[in-house]
């Protein structure tokens, strides 16, 4: 969908099949509920998203990948902006590497295995396999086209030859859960090596990128805490996020809601990323996401009215609208929660 500045504040809908194909795992939970209720997915076009799209259109693919960091207070729509960008890129035909929430990889992991590839690191088979499954659904056709460049040995008996399509790597990872994280690593490396060639364009979209440099809640068997570098998934992802490849773009979001050990009022890149993360991501384009502007608020309110989401009689009046705006402080999440019981 081609959007320009005039479309700011309007909502555009995505057909449901595309939603399932492009976003198997990316959308926020509440938005998924809303899709189910309304039977359609409508995303609002907002200024930050338009900014990113403009940069993407104008970016030169021969240069190293530009990094964009979307940040803002809680509930202002960062994940939704990311999804908007992802959808646009998939429509344009890019290969999308979408990681729904990096925080899921650093906390609440039930199984941790020592990596076969590298003795120091730890594997997370569950999360890796889940992610591989979703990646398969979202990027079916690319998996056929891209070929591996090296031979990879998974275990005693399995190995992948050179020149085989990436689909086999993915299926290998899914079949043998133990080596799923290594499969992910292989995938990422292949994509990185091949994208400068220009046959396809790569978009790396990571939500909750501050998880990669913070602390983890996991611990090893001897109860010592695990640093993020020791996790294979995190390590490989960090390699992706470095600037040394070209032919695509990296769009990331900071998220405070899932972040560990950080105060709830922190929302700037410096605070949430920490010194390490900030240095690693250093030359990036920051994109703040504010609360709704009056126009956006009106359009959102109009949408709820249209779909008869607001049942209360007083919600239809001007006073009701002013009240909603006051109480929610023009924060999208608050508005959503307020409008729910009405």
């Amino acid at each position: 969908a081609k959007h320009t500045d005039q479309h700011e504040g309007r909502l555009y809908s995505i057909p449901l099949q595309e939603v399932k194909a492009v976003f198997p795992h990316g959308l926020p939970h509440r938005f998924q509920q809303q899709i189910q209720t309304f039977n359609e997915a409508r995303v609002m076009v907002r200024r930050p998203a338009l900014e990113i799209l403009g940069y993407l259109k104008g970016s030169n693919l021969a240069h190293p990948a530009v990094r964009y960091v979307i940040y803002g207070e809680r509930g202002t729509g960062k994940t939704m902006t990311l999804c908007h960008v992802v959808h646009y890129c998939s429509r344009q035909g890019w290969l999308v590497l979408h990681i729904p929430d990096a925080h899921l990889w650093v906390k609440n992991c039930k199984e941790l295995f020592h990596s076969s590839y590298n003795k120091d690191r730890l594997d997370q088979p569950l999360q890796a396999s889940v992610w591989l499954k979703n990646f398969k659904t979202s990027n079916e056709r690319f998996l056929e086209e891209i070929k591996t460049q090296r031979k990879y040995i998974w275990g005693k008996r399995e190995s992948t030859e050179e020149g085989r399509p990436l689909r086999e790597v993915v299926e290998q990872g899914l079949a043998r859960v133990r080596s799923a994280s290594d499969a992910v690593g292989v995938l990422l490396r292949e994509l990185k090596l091949q994208s400068p060639r220009g046959s396809f364009r790569l978009l790396v979209a990571v939500d909750g990128v501050n998880a990669l440099w913070g602390r983890t809640t996991l611990s090893k068997e001897d109860k010592s805490p695990v640093a993020p570098e020791e996790l294979t998934l995190v390590h490989n992802l960090r390699k992706m996020l470095r600037n040394d490849w070209s032919g695509g773009a990296i769009v990331t979001t900071l998220s405070q809601t899932g972040s560990l050990f950080k105060p709830s009022s922190a929302y700037t890149p410096q605070e949430l990323l920490g010194k390490e993360g900030f240095d690693a991501l250093d030359p990036f384009v920051p994109i703040p996401v504010p609360n709704y502007s009056p126009r956006e608020f009106e359009s959102c309110y109009g949408y709820y009215l249209e779909r008869r989401w607001l049942q209360h009689e007083k919600a239809h009046t001007e006073d009701g609208k002013a009240e909603l705006q006051f109480l929610s402080g023009s924060n999208p999440r608050q508005l959503d929660r307020l409008a729910g019981p009405l």
């Binding site: 009022s265 006073d319 002013a322 009240e323 705006q325 006051f326 109480l327 402080g329 924060n331 608050q334 307020l338």
Partner: protein, 350 residues
């Protein structure tokens, strides 16, 4: 063995306490007054001040300094006052050595009441005579109305204190009716002094709350301030005109300061009531109390500030809606013998 037939008067007295409150003799009172004055001079010496110009307030302050007491009841604390204030006025003995009473109405039982009624009726007749004289001379009758609205008659208790004897309800109402009849006469001004003994000024009860006018700051925007409190929280609010509806508390936006919807609804209430949600900006400072108390305090402060922006009728509406009244509910004190203010200890049968 001798049986005592005639018993002493001490045993004959049945009830010692039935004779009524102690009677103080005049000599006793005089002695108390002398002691008080001496004590006053000693106290002044002790405090290093001039004995001649030592007033009652100075005495109170000195006593409070020398005998600090933590008792809550002010009347239970150490007290040094003139004996006439301490000892209640009592009737001196009404008859002389020969047993003959001084007053001619003594045997009526209520001598002072009847003498008062007689006096008042005398004045009444006086006024009527004066009135007849004036009509006989065809002079205009003076008609200067006393200010009845600002004065009230003495209450029954006050009358009892004045007469030093009990007055029944009937008698009291008769006396008041007589006074009213007296005042109703046109020429009652002659006995004005006598009537003033029985009337008291009523202080003006209705204090109209003054609504402050709007002030203007440097940019020319009109604003007004208000203060509010609730439970232990104190808040001050400054409401600016021509705003967008943004509210800042202690420098923080309300979305961040009050994450709970209920508190934000409390803030919204005054503006919503007047229908001015998006028109005013507000900057407030609040301290003390908990989250709900702070919200209530800010609500009261903003309602008080909005009074200057709004007509009197709407102020009356706000008052009736309860937006302008201070909430008197405070934490109740824990009582001894109970676990909390109301909760008793668990009752065990044995």
């Amino acid at each position: 063995t001798l049986r005592l037939i005639c018993t002493t008067t001490a045993v004959q007295k049945r009830n010692v306490g039935a004779s009524g409150p102690e009677k103080y003799t005049e000599a006793f009172i005089k002695k108390q007054i002398e002691e008080f004055n001496l004590g006053k001079r000693h106290l002044a010496n002790m405090m290093g001040e001039d004995p001649e110009t030592f007033t009652q307030e100075d005495i109170d302050r000195a006593i409070a300094y020398l005998f600090p007491s933590g008792l809550f009841d002010k009347q239970a604390r150490p007290l040094m006052k003139h004996p006439t204030e301490v000892f209640p006025e009592q009737r001196k003995i009404q008859w002389g050595e020969d047993g003959r009473p001084f007053h001619f109405l003594f045997y009526t039982g209520k001598q002072s009441y009847y003498s008062l009624m007689h006096e008042t009726y005398e004045k009444f007749l006086n006024v009527q005579k004066h009135q007849d004289q004036l009509t006989a001379q065809d002079l205009p009758l003076q008609k200067e109305k006393r200010n009845l609205a600002g004065s009230r008659w003495l209450t029954k208790i006050e009358l009892e204190e004045m007469l030093l004897e009990k007055v029944s309800d009937d008698d009291y109402s008769r006396f008041i009716r007589l006074l009213q009849k007296l005042v109703a006469l046109p020429c009652a001004d002659i006995e004005e002094k006598y009537i003033q003994k029985f009337s008291k000024e009523v202080p003006v009860q209705l204090q109209k709350v003054v609504i402050e006018p709007l002030q203007h700051d440097e940019r020319g925007v009109a604003f007004s301030t208000g203060e509010g409190k609730r439970k232990t929280a104190r808040a001050t609010a400054v409401v600016y005109d021509n705003g967008t509806g943004k509210i800042t508390v202690n420098g923080i936006d309300i979305l961040h300061y009050f994450p709970v919807l209920q508190d934000r609804e409390q803030l919204l209430f005054p503006f919503q009531f007047l229908g001015r949600i998006g028109k005013h900006d507000m900057v407030c400072t609040v301290s003390g109390g908990g989250r709900s108390a702070q919200a209530g305090a800010i609500r009261l402060a903003s309602a008080k500030a909005l009074r200057s922006f709004v007509t009197e009728k709407e102020v009356e509406f706000m008052r009736q809606a309860g937006l302008l009244t201070v909430d008197p509910r405070v934490k109740e004190r824990k009582k001894p013998g109970q676990e909390g203010p109301r909760r008793k200890f668990t009752w065990k049968k044995r």
